[in-house]
Symmetry: C2
Subunit: 294 residues, 2 copies
């Protein structure tokens, strides 16, 4: 193992001395679930701000819009500005507008927060909420579908249903229909013995039956990075990515020339680092972002 374990204030100080911008993942770094901040995370964020670092909150979680994230940050006591928050729902909207140049009709397998971000750039978006199974095969073969759906977005959707899968895959039979996924995270961060499927499971379900691969905008992919750079003009070598997932956060940092710090407060345990090739390891790791102020 060649990742460096950060121990005590001096090690953090040395790392941060070269850093202007800090990108922070949220689930597993700042909080777990919806109710509790990770102990010390708020103080660590305040400390980074006091050090004059520019902060970006960079989350693959598409369950909320930027406005809803603001409310969550405030509820949990974090001091954050809306312009610092980059959830994948927002990135989808930015991608549709600036990269794809699309402002038409979008079918979304996802939640209201993602719909708000997609509509904010001028698209018409439908899909969120329950869409309960009705009928049988012979009925589904007679279903009617919306016209002119030029994009399908698959995001986190706990209301996943067969009716939604039929619609997503049918719209995607049109090869000109854009196919976007927010991310491929397999599970939500959780401690313990329960596996809560993440957006990756919804994306896999649709891509299998659509027989097409989506453009994935979230970490570790480049649309997320491009969007942050456009808004912040950050310099990669003076930027630190802090996250709890090797396959998203750390890979994202490595791919885009950032320094990387893994925290063990979410999806990854120290033993998961053993035996990894050096190209998969973070530069640094620590138990928690709270160690910054220890």
């Amino acid at each position: 193992m060649s990742a460096l374990r950060l121990c005590g204030g001096p090690a953090w100080k040395k790392l941060l001395s070269d850093v202007e911008t800090v990108l922070l993942d949220c689930d597993g770094v700042l909080w777990l679930g919806n109710t509790d901040a990770i102990p010390g995370a708020k103080e660590a964020v305040s400390h980074l701000r006091a050090l004059g670092k520019r902060l970006c909150f960079v989350t693959n979680n598409s369950s909320k819009s930027r406005d809803e994230y603001m409310a969550k940050f405030q509820k949990l006591g974090f001091d954050v500005n809306k312009s610092e928050i980059f959830p994948t729902g927002y990135i989808v909207g930015q991608y549709l507008k600036h990269t794809a140049g699309y402002d038409g009709k979008v079918y979304l397998m996802g939640v209201e927060g993602t719909k708000q971000e997609i509509e904010a750039i001028g698209c018409t978006c439908f899909g969120p909420g329950p869409d309960v199974l009705t009928g049988t095969l012979d009925d589904w073969l007679q279903m009617s579908f919306e016209k002119d759906v030029g994009a399908v977005v698959v995001a986190y959707d706990c209301h996943i249903s067969y009716m939604k899968m039929i619609q997503a895959c049918t719209y995607l039979k049109n090869p000109d229909c854009i196919f976007i996924a927010t991310n491929e995270d397999p599970v939500l961060p959780s401690n313990g013995h329960i596996a809560i499927p993440g957006t990756g499971s919804m994306v896999s379900a649709v891509r299998t039956s659509a027989k097409r691969d989506p453009i994935i905008v979230g970490k570790p992919h480049t649309p997320m990075f491009d969007c942050i750079v456009k808004h912040t003009n950050l310099q990669p070598h003076k930027t630190l990515m802090i996250g709890d997932s090797l396959n998203t956060d750390i890979l994202f940092g490595r791919r885009h020339g950032l320094k990387t710090l893994l925290v063990l407060s979410g999806n990854t345990k120290e033993c998961n680092l053993e035996g990894l090739s050096s190209d998969k390891l973070p530069d640094y790791y620590a138990d928690s972002i709270a160690d910054l102020i220890s």
Copy 2:
């Protein structure tokens, strides 16, 4: 293209002269959907029987038990015996009993018909039917789960829901829990512009979040073949597999030393054969099984 197109009676007669056993896929070969047999399919089956061929109906479709398939065959006017029907639900039961030696508790993402086949070999099985979303992340993290679930089976389930995905993935966190999928067919056979997701989409959703690969019992995999051989003692080189899907039926036949005949009445069009390497091509192809009696 080197697959041979069967034209007229003499070509069929020559092919069938060396064949003792005929394995027939069902959806896309004998029928499409639930209501109509493909024109001429009944007569073709009767003709094969009159020629003295042993018949096996070999379907990846896990939406029905053997008994339910018998009812469907009879409703559509096919002359079939129950012992000739090999749906994947039945293969799951046979695999659990004879290969895994398991007769404990099974969580099934699937329908009642598959449950019946699993219970027929002595297992306790739960899961079929609607399992509607309730609560939020914090509730799911407090969910209670059945004890001693030693196998998870993923089959066709139009009631797919997030609650089912959480359960399947959570039981599969136990590395001793057997993980079986009936098949990976991406879509149900249908003509036209609608894509109806198949079991492959449900399997992809669970395997992504469980981070495990299932044992797949259906075509093109070997558990299906082993089960048929055990029941029929067929000789592969004297057996013909007739199907409409290259990735399941034809690959299944090739892998297990059978002659292969693709029919164009379901999932595959003639243009799909162009440019395929010879190891993916069927030995023969025809518009429909009905051509046998033309």
